[in-house]
Amino acid sequence: MDLTGLVAFNVVTGIATLFLITIGLGVIYGMMRIINLAHGEFMMLGAYTAVTAVDHGVNIWVALLVLPPLVVGLIGLAVERTVIRFLYGRMMDTMLATWGISLGLIGLVTTLFGNVVKAVPTPVGSFEIGRYGASLFNLVLIGTALVAIVALLGLLRFTKFGLVLRATMQNARMAAALGVSPGTIYMATFALGSALAGLAGGVLAPISGVSPDMGAAYIARAFITVLGGGPAIVTGTGLASGLFGFIDELVSFQTSPVIGDVALLCAAVLLIRVLPQGITGRFLRRSL
């Protein structure tokens, strides 16, 4: 019974983690049809922001949850202005360019910080599930994911920005005709997606080593989860994270993390084969 509780807790943590590492990519892909191959490296930059902030004595919570999205959001803004905006409508080229940015960021961070694994202390301790110990920090992960879901849904549904965003997504030309510049919207969306990637990197920093090539470990999973989710960004990413996170954690617990990862990827490829438009391409189409 205690074990079931522990495994359930791990599954929920796994789902939350998957959601966090995916949602930034999902926002950018869902709104702009841009597959941001530098997503993993944006996470990596978020983690380095956290490491650097902690090293400079910034409060740990600020360093993990506030600074990374801000810093990476700004970096995303700069990338959008200098590279991405010249490539709108050229999906292939944006994939290549973001791949280049990804390699460049790995190289840059390696050159600046060295290929060393940095670490951030975990700010909270552990708690007991029956006779098993579990990390309290996993609750922080789950909480962050929940806050991100609620905030994004609120943003899309209740704010003017959200309305314009949805309109642009439906029909960029129409939105442009209504006097909203798609350029501005895209810029804001890219920055928002980058900020979410930064947040994921920051909040995951304490439990994973922070190194220049850490992004590669996440990118394939994040991708396939976005595609599995389908057009409704938040709901789709949430559902796909739930499904794949569940499979991954459960198979990992039964066998090993590799098989868990492989099971996740295989499940996703099959899902895309059956539902090429993703889960929300078929079900819950009207969700956000």
Partner: protein, 360 residues
């Protein structure tokens, strides 16, 4: 046939002869000009150039975004290594190294193309498949993972893979010079094969499908079949590259499946020129040369350079070096056939509209 048409065809024939001639000159000239180590270096260049041709064909001509071409390189290399260790004689293993990736690509391609999976998703799926293969081979440590006598070795890979031998004589293994002849010879053959393929009806239809899939379909061609065949052919070529790659190093490990391998070959093609065959070869030699040169220093991480090159080419020289050079030459020259140059530099349009419009 019109005279213009004839001259275009003749010109293309001449360029073909020139490239093959240059290839043969390098093939037989290099052993006299460079030492053993130079040949070893050039063998690697030939292997990556063949790999680049496989990507250049599938992406540049068939318009298929295979982002996981390293999967086929790795399968070819592993297939050769396993078969060579188990069989002794290397002749059949070489064939296996081409056949295994082709079979795998045929299965994967059937799954993707007949499953109406759209272009961008094909990129993601191929990439994911290469990640899966990487993880699986990486997890084959320990003696329980073996095929015949060949232990897969997991992360450590397979050491001491026997090199190609004279057919039928397992003990007569090729030395570095012999492997050079095999590698460079294969490059010339693959180039000639692809030129012939593209000049054939099949090749022309493949390019037409890249240009306008709907139109080709409405004429009566089944794009799925042509894509599947192109994908399979390119996988076989990548497998051959893998076979030569493992012969070059005598060693293979899961890093052949790594994302960086797939990334590099895309950079080769992009830098050299998408939609050409000579371009990927030149791009491969150029970038591999740069990577090697970067190996001697450690002040700046080489990824930084690769990343900057990739972004710069996408933004500034998206056609790649060869078509750009051709266009410049054509402009500098008598402006004889601007149309031809434009046709050759035209790239497969991958851009998708925001939503598939249901026009009525």
């Amino acid at each position: 046939m019109t005279p213009v048409h004839l001259s275009a065809r003749r010109r293309s024939g001449l360029s073909f002869l020139a490239v093959v001639g240059a290839g043969l000159a390098i093939l037989f000239g290099a052993p006299h000009l460079v030492g053993t180590y130079g040949l070893v270096q050039l063998t690697l260049f030939a292997a990556v150039a063949i790999f680049a041709l496989s990507q250049g064909f599938v992406w540049g001509f068939a318009g298929i975004m295979s982002f996981g071409q390293a999967a086929f390189l790795g399968l070819g290399a592993y297939a050769y290594a396993v078969a060579a260790i188990d069989m002794g004689d290397s002749t059949v293993p070489v064939l296996i190294s081409v056949a295994v990736p082709m079979l795998f690509a045929a299965a994967l391609g059937y799954f993707m193309f007949y499953g109406r999976i759209s272009d961008a998703y094909i990129g993601v799926i191929t990439l994911t498949v290469s990640v899966i293969l990487f993880q699986l081979t990486n997890a084959t440590s320990g003696s329980q993972y073996h095929i015949g006598q060949a232990e897969l070795g997991g992360f450590n890979g397979m050491p001491s893979v026997p090199p190609i031998n004279v057919p039928g004589m397992p003990d007569d293994q090729l030395d570095q010079t012999g492997i050079w002849y095999v590698a460079m010879g294969s490059l010339v053959v693959v180039y000639a094969f692809l030129r012939a393929l593209l000049a054939s009806r099949f090749g022309r239809v493949v390019v037409a499908i890249r240009e306008n899939e709907t139109r080709a379909q409405l004429i009566g061609y089944d794009p799925r079949l042509y894509k599947l065949l192109s994908f399979t052919v390119s996988a076989g070529i990548a497998g051959l590259a893998g076979c030569i790659y493992v012969n070059w190093g005598g060693f293979i490990s899961p890093t052949v499946f790594a994302l960086s391998m797939s990334a590099q070959v895309i950079i080769f093609v992009l830098v050299g020129g998408l939609g050409t065959l000579l371009g990927p070869i030149l791009g491969a030699v150029l970038i591999q040369g740069l990577i090697n040169a970067a190996g001697g220093q450690s002040a700046v991480d080489p990824n930084l350079g690769l990343g900057i090159i990739l972004v710069a080419f996408v933004l500034l020289i998206p056609q790649g070096l060869l078509p750009t050079a051709r266009a410049l030459l054509a402009r500098a020259g008598s402006r004889k056939e601007p149309a031809r140059a434009a046709a050759e530099t035209a790239r497969p349009l991958a851009a998708q509209p925001l939503a598939p419009e249901t026009r009525r």
